[in-house]
Symmetry: C2
Subunit: 196 residues, 2 copies
DNA sequence: CCACCTTACTTGACAATGTCATCTGAAATG
DNA sequence: CATTTCAGATGACATTGTCAAGTAAGGTGG
């Protein structure tokens, strides 16, 4: 392997290791020593690829934002499903991160990841979501609806994550949310379903 | 001062010191040594009052939740203002914490504070909010509306905090949120105002 | 093929921090 | 006043982020 290749491989291994450790044991489990060990290198190696630990964590957040942006773009391009379902899919994608990788979700919205790079990546996601909303309510109203929808989806995810939506009565569905905000109707009859 | 009095005073001083350090310098500034120093005691003193650092931080979160619960209860009891305004006030109180004490807000919803005690305190807030909602939409519909309203308010606060609602077009107001969700109408005409 | 340079990575070291065992002095008790 | 109790102080230790110095393998010129 050429030198540049080994370096790139190591960098990927470091990111992968950090991501796995975050998912498995939360933020406290992500020590540079543990990351290095899992990546097959030693504790100081990350400094050859990232300015410091925060930059490594920020990279995890940026990757997550980029994945979300890609998924939103994919959804929008999929003309086989109705616009409404595409929008709901985008919101659910955000919530899915909170469910599948709660620590990563927390990282995406936490201070260490609030560097300009991460905010920029998040803004790209916002743009994609805005487009999804525009497909439903039109360009003119998209910003107002979009902000409410994104905030609400993020809120549902975060509250659920913090254990504040556990009680049966507090379950909330994204479909309900979209229905109420976009169609301007009261919540549908019957049981409120679990989001998803 | 009797021994119990000095102990209680020290405990209060520790909580106050931790709170101030959190507000001033974020989570990293809250070291037990700094807390002790500001409280006029030494680094090991907190262990006489809290099981460990996390328990001290949890106490900060619990206090914040309790303040919110009190404010919601006060609002609900204030019959001089219309029910709608009371509900908006409750939601705004949550957002106000995010604006005035962003680090505290993050702590309230972060893992270290997700202990049973903190969740219980948060549940009391939820109950108060639920009552505020019930005063507007009735007992039957309160849970569904309440979950959406609380999640949305939390989402607005969190997104704003993370710098994801900075763009002019993304500003969102609580009044708009309540209006859309409760009255089932499209967002009002004209500029979307800043929440608050 | 060899001497030299470049660089990804390792290792030793250090300061900061959370935590605990031990100690101390003053309050409480009889 | 003697003794007990307990809030708080202090020394010590492991862990961690960080960096300077060292090392060895990849790359380059002759």
């Amino acid at each position: 392997m050429t030198r540049a290749e080994t370096a790139a491989t190591t960098r990927r291994a470091l990111i992968r290791a950090a991501s796995e450790l975050l998912d498995e044991g939360g933020p406290d489990a992500v020590t540079l020593r543990a990351v290095g060990a899992r990546a097959g290198v030693s504790r100081g190696a990350p400094y050859g690829h990232f300015e410091n630990k925060d930059h490594l964590l920020t990279q995890l957040a940026v990757n997550a934002w980029n994945s979300l942006a890609e998924e939103a773009a994919r959804l929008r391009a999929n003309l086989e499903i109705p616009v409404r379902a595409r929008l709901e899919g985008g919101l659910l994608a955000l919530i899915a991160v909170a469910r599948r990788q709660p620590h990563l979700f927390a990282l995406m919205f936490s201070t260490p990841a609030n560097t300009p790079v991460a905010v920029e990546a998040a803004d790209r996601v916002a743009s994609e979501f805005l487009a999804l909303v525009a497909d439903v309510v039109g360009e003119a109203d998209a910003p107002r609806y979009g902000a409410l929808l994104m905030s609400s989806a993020y809120g549902i995810a975060g509250m659920e994550l913090g254990g504040h939506l556990t009680k049966e009565t507090w379950h909330v569905s994204v479909e309900q949310l979209v229905h109420m905000l976009v169609d301007h109707t009261p919540p549908g009859p019957g049981e409120p379903g679990r989001a998803g």
